[in-house]
Amino acid sequence: MNRAEQTDSPILRMEGVSKRYGGVRALASADLIVFAGRIHAVLGENGAGKSTLIKILAGVVTPDAGRVLLDGAEVAFDSPAAANRAGIVCIFQELSLVPDLSVADNIAISNPPRRFGMIDRRAQRRLAEDALERAGAPDIHPMALVKDLPLSRRQMVEIAKALARKPRVLILDEATSALTAADVAKVFVVLKRLRQEGLALLFISHRMHEIAELADECTVFRNGANVATYAAGTKTDNEVVEMMIGREYSHVFPPKPAARATAAAPLLEVRNLSWADRLRDISFTAEAGEVVGLGGLDGQGQRELLLALFGVLRGVSGEIRIAGVPASPSSPHAAKAKRIGMALIPEDRKTEGLMLPMSVRENLSFAALPRVSTGGVIDSAREHALVAEMIDLLDIHVAGTDAPAGSLSGGNQQKVVIAKWLMAEPRIILLNDPTRGIDVGTKQEIYRLLRRLADQGAAIVFYTTDYDELIGCCDRALVLYDGAVRRVLRGAEITERALIASALNIGAETPVAAGEGSRP
């Protein structure tokens, strides 16, 4: 690996930068130093300030205090356009692509080549093709509409768009989370080549193996401040996590019960479930008292499987049985009904799980309105009682139940979403990456809760991107690849090695035989 010559003066420097949002302090006198020709990783828990840091550099928000120096000179950006002009380009997690415009239009959106005052389409197309080539995605047609492209292709367009601006500092905010494994490898090649060309790269990621492969140096943020900067590879993963959470770290998972054989029909039985080309012939079961995990790389169909079970998808073929009785939920309303009794904790709590401006109480009772009403009229006393019970059960920190849900912290918001569904007394609980973006303390509370619910007789199916959760929480883990169940791991078989191997579709494995998805 040929490192470019390191210059002594950094290309980018942040000193004492602070930012407040209302009563929340996102950044507290943060510092950061970035050199050209180096890849610099930024780590930290959600809420540690990484996103705010990036947004300040990219010109999306302005800092309350402190300064940013580019090439030694102080700069202040009042818009993303200003930051781009200075050579700082950022690729965000929420894509900044316009869905109804073409790839070429998107790549050249802010400063297209012009002729007679109008956009020169031919020159723009050449520009786009160039950028796509540099980004390692020459197969994307420049005239395709962005909204017709799958998520991983869109991310590649986003990267091409950033490269087309000829940046000097490239910032990636979890930019690889939507990519397929093959694309990730291609992007890494591109990034390493750019480093050699002298680009300064700043990237946020939670994936330790990516950081290990790419980064030259790392900085850990905690509570809005820079707590440590070190050369990559000089700290163990545990040490890093401890720096991130500021205390001694140990994954604490509640103990799993020994496997017990039951004669009863499994609570959830799925046979030959297929949908579009995203789910292929999936079969598995989940017993009462069991926690089944869905693993595998992002985008292999795990989310779609949960949505299909919950009745959100149309055109699902295959068989679903609940406690032996055939059922085909055609909507969440049907799936929630007593006859089926399913609950889904959705992917994005802010847009799918909660109505943020409405009160905590209104959100909590929203899925169980029949329980707190008679004949359509809400019984206020019953509602307050049940809500208090749930807040107690889940230990939700809230000043008063009338506070808007948007005022709660991420962890508490997720607890409200879970509590909302528990109020509906489901017997099958589906969870879509429930601990994403949640602080460690709340995560552990959720693990304990899931095990308790299973012990009380629920069947739990949950998708997570965190290997430790699959290993620590699940009785069985189904690893999905390309929409099909690649491997079923039981109990002690669930190891990181086995998970990664099956996720990447490599390693010694036998094809999943019929019945493999169910407990013996």
Partner: protein, 325 residues
Amino acid sequence: MSEGTQTRLAGAFLRRVDPPVAIAFGCVIAMLLLGSLYSRSFLSPEYLLQQLKVASFLGVIATGTMIVILLGQIDLSIPWVVAVGGMMSTAATGWGPVGEAMAIPFGVACGIALGLVNGFGVAYLRIPSMIITLAVNAVAQGLMVVHTGGFSPQDSSSPAMRALATGEVVFGLPNALIVWGVVGAGAIFLLNRTTFGRAVYGIGNRERAAYLSGIDTQRVVLIAFALAGGLSAFGGVLLAGYASKAAQAMGDAYLLPAIAAVVLGGASILGGRGNYLGTVAGVILITLLQSILSVVQMPEAGRQITYGVVIIAMLLLYGRESLAR
């Protein structure tokens, strides 16, 4: 007191007294005081009661409009659904004693039917509400043109209709006002104390989350539009009762005021936020404004301009979207 506690307490107080509602009522009072400078009769009970009676018609219509706006949708079929209500109820009156007795329910039922078409289009066919209600408005107009043969409708309203709209039964309070009061009380109960109302606010806030929470969002939207249609038609029935007969294009003058009243009352046009008391204030505000402008004998041109400027000014006061920075 910590900053957090202070913010929470202020928040709790503000939630009791919605700022837009307070501002709207404040403007009503301001307008009355201003008018009293022109003439003392502005503060007389007779004038105030008369205004409230006139406001009742708009109030009934605006109730339906508000429910639809809370969902995050819009109902542009008000003009001709109002006309349908008026014309169908007067027509039924002419169909013998049974027809006369059923005139009011029949008029309202026609409105509900049109509302169901709106609701079906929005909920099940996912057609943008703006365009389907526009189409239904055009169809309703077509139906009424055929029904009246292009002439002014000649049917008279039933005695019941006239009594509702113009009579006074209790302590000199206009019946129309009592009708609005009953409708309003029903709306407040529906929106605040029922699961339907909770679902309406939820859908208006975030339809995706409401859907994923297992709410039958399609049924709620359907019922909401049906209610709006029924209430618009009921407004038409009352108007026909007031004038003793229906008239061509009788509902045209109610579309924009209904929407304006709801928005001036603090409801967000995007849905999910709004208080019925605000709509009451908005309705009274608009009615007063129109009345004052006519009493000072401002020509129609000046009235229109004042009307528009006042709405913009009030919206700028509290209707602005927040700057996301």
